[in-house]
Amino acid sequence: MALAQRTGRSRHRLILLALTAITLLTVDLNGFGPIESAQRVVRDVLDPVTSLAATVVSPAGDAWNSIFNYGDLEDENNALRAELEELQGAIIRGEADTETLRRLLAATDLAYVDDLERVTAEVKYGSVGNFDDHLITINKGSRDGISEGMAVVTGAGLVGRVERVDNATATVQLISDATLFVGARLVSTDKVGLGHAVPGEAGMFVIDRGTDYPDTDDPTLLPEIGSRVVTAGESSFPADIPIGTVRSVRRSSDEASMEVQVDLANNVDDLHFVTVLIVEPPSEFPLGPIEAPGGTGAEENLSETDEIDETDETGEDE
């Protein structure tokens, strides 16, 4: 009898906890302000503790990496050495190229290089759990003028966008996350489309929405292999931030639209410093509703549309 009462009480407790969790999930998914504020307060309160602890335990982490990731470090070292030699050659050529570069910048209108207010931040850490590979945390936050949706870049190009902001830190969703959609412009053809990273293929980005395949076989209408891809002026990012270079172009499965594969300019797996562009993202998703190419699975279409709508909603909230 007592056992049955105890079991019943435990079940009631579990049901109560499940209902509480469902309530929290519902309000959090709807962006309920006080819940987000409460989470931010907890993270801010614990930030000095984790920072101090990180300093204390960092030798242990370094030791672990040096023991178990020695091969990777050696490869990285060799790659850096090769890159250094290349850069030394580039410096010699650099003076001659400066004028060309200036013209190129003017032609492609990379205004973000000079004109935008920016905040440079250090990457505090990468993923904290096992399901957030495409997030990094930086050591600058709302007190430095950073807010959600701002573009994060390095000298090489787009890194991602600010996903969550605390007082002293911010979390960045990397461009390697396939759920992050970016409005992209193909510089060689001036066409604009919507792209995202390819899951499971590091450094690969694909523009597969909004770009029609030319009706004629004229190759000049296709983007040149190796040509630059930058953020579109109509996207939620500032215009003309480098995304990468065109690797290949092909017809998509529906035969009507174009699928452009792009090598990302940034290696987001190895970031130490980044720059946040202090530009408020537009309040509405600028590219508008983009119809997914036909012939793909209904589930995929729905989810990608959801992502676009989600961005739109976020913007409207702001």
Binding site: R6, S10, L14, L17, S58, V128, F131
Partner: protein, 170 residues
């Protein structure tokens, strides 16, 4: 007092997760310390108290995870309830059995977290990687579990019971 002690264990676990286990990973998988706290809470404190403590551990972890608040809390509470409901007679509380329970509990917690995440629309959680992550996290937690039994037993106000019956278990 017990709440404060459990809070202290939570604090140490979250700080270690956010510092030590950022770097210390095996095959790019980190231990799931908060899940381990939840599993041990279910084991040591029984289904009722254990699931409540596990809910708190999950809620704390949710604050740092990119998924919505309440997801890990629900997964951890459910697993702690299941662990706590296992008949006490099945266990002699040996270290090996604690490790086995930590492995199974963590595996279940990670899978439950991912499945619940998919249910509420968090894409990309359930794939082939999930099994690998759950297995490695389970193994890592099973290695850590014997070291966490003592602080958890302290936090739950009972003496260490490896080799004897669990005191806090109702």
């Amino acid at each position: 007092m017990t709440v404060l002690k459990v809070g202290a264990v939570f604090l140490v676990a979250i700080v270690m997760q956010l510092t030590v286990f950022i770097d210390v990973r095996v095959a790019d998988v980190a231990p799931e310390l908060l899940a381990l706290v939840a599993v041990l809470a279910g084991f040591l404190a029984g289904p009722e108290r254990g699931s409540t403590i596990a809910f708190g551990a999950g809620l704390l972890w949710d604050i740092w995870l990119p998924t919505p608040l309440g997801l890990a809390a629900m997964a951890f509470a459910t697993v702690a309830f299941a662990v706590g409901s296992i008949e006490a007679g099945l266990f002699n509380d040996s270290r090996l059995q604690v490790s086995a329970l930590a492995f199974l509990g963590t595996f279940a917690a990670v899978i439950a977290y991912a499945l619940l995440g998919e249910v509420v629309g968090q894409r990309g959680l359930v794939d082939l990687e999930l099994l690998r992550v759950a297995l490695i996290a389970g193994v890592l937690n099973s290695l850590i579990a014997p070291f966490l039994v003592r602080p958890m037993t302290w936090a739950l106000s009972g003496p260490l019971t490896l080799g004897g019956p669990a005191p806090a278990r109702s």
